[in-house]
């Protein structure tokens, strides 16, 4: 089973790359942009076929390693 994890900075946590990209887009004339956020996508291929079990395994992976929940949020998408 394919599982996709999307990791973003929590609201209010400075996203320096997003900020720089926003400035660069502004300087190209895209003045309507209000915010740019960067996210990390991690694609996992699991042997597990039960989606509930896969969900709970990946949640545990996120909590233990994939995300730093002090500053990051994660979303799990089962394919």
């Amino acid at each position: 089973m394919k599982v996709e994890v999307q990791i973003t900075f929590k609201d209010g946590i400075l996203d320096p790359q997003g900020k720089v990209i926003k400035h660069s887009l502004h300087s190209l004339g895209f003045s309507s942009i209000k915010e740019v956020k960067i996210s990390k996508n991690i694609i996992l291929e699991l042997e597990e076929t039960n989606s509930q079990k896969a969900q709970s395994q990946v949640k545990s992976m996120c909590e233990k390693l994939l995300a730093n929940t002090v500053i990051e949020d994660y979303k799990i998408k089962l394919a």
């Binding site: 946590i13 400075l14 320096p16 790359q17 233990k64 390693l65 994939l66 730093n68 002090v70 500053i71």
Partner: protein
């Protein structure tokens, strides 16, 4: 004193750290990350700077799941003294042994220059040779030293006097060095046996360095 210095893949300050502590008369052993035990009778464990695992995922994230880390956590729980410098500090945060997290520097730049630091609290073994408000000059070299902690965490740090060092100018006024909350450069845990800082005291040990202020910092662990 017996000092153990951890060595992960891409650690690069272990020999400087060894040199610094040996200069102060300590016995130093470098410990490879695949080991599952610390050397017997280790009195101080130093997690040296560098870019463990090439900062893959997040700085310190992969190191925290290395085989040696179980022994590190045990050592910490038994009250063992731990000092994390730069990447070592990041590893301690990732491992949950110190509160908070590191973000990329707000300038997006890798900052490699001397920093002036203010001693905020000296009621701990690390900074006991200083007085509050003393300043020291210590080199910094990091891309992710922008310390973050939420409001609740910050009040708890303040309440327990866990903020040890802040970035300041030569007059001792706090400055924004890398974006850190309250200009924090170094903290300790509530039990005051685990210390983390971004600047490198082991690089301020000789006349040819920026300063010799690192000696007085590391000496804290060795003197009674």
């Amino acid at each position: 004193m017996k000092v153990a210095v951890l060595q992960f893949l891409c650690t690069n300050c272990e020999y400087d750290t060894q040199y610094a502590f040996e200069k102060l008369g300590a016995k130093v052993q470098i410990v490879w990350h695949q080991n599952t035990n610390l050397p017997q009778n280790t009195q101080l464990l130093v997690i040296a700077g560098g870019f463990s695992y090439g900062d893959c995922l997040r700085s310190g994230a992969i190191a925290k799941v290395s085989p040696i880390m179980k022994a590190v956590v045990n050592f910490a729980q038994q009250g063992g003294l731990i000092l994390g410098i730069c990447n070592g500090f990041q590893i301690l945060l990732e491992a949950g042994l110190l509160p908070g997290a590191m973000r990329h520097n707000d300038s997006l730049r890798f900052i490699s220059k001397p920093s002036t630091l203010k001693i905020i609290n000296n009621n701990n073994i690390f900074l006991k040779l200083f007085n509050p408000n003393d300043t020291v000059r210590i080199p910094c070299a990091h891309a992710e030293g922008n310390y973050y902690i939420n409001k609740t965490g910050l009040s708890s740090l303040k309440k327990n006097n866990q903020i040890l060092l802040t970035y300041c100018n030569e007059q001792g006024q706090e400055i924004n060095f890398n974006g850190s909350v309250q200009s924090i450069a170094g903290i300790c845990n509530a039990k005051r046996n685990i210390f983390g800082l971004m600047p490198h005291p082991e690089r301020a040990m000789d006349k040819f360095c920026v300063s010799c202020d690192g000696i007085k910092m590391l000496q804290g662990f060795l003197s009674k």
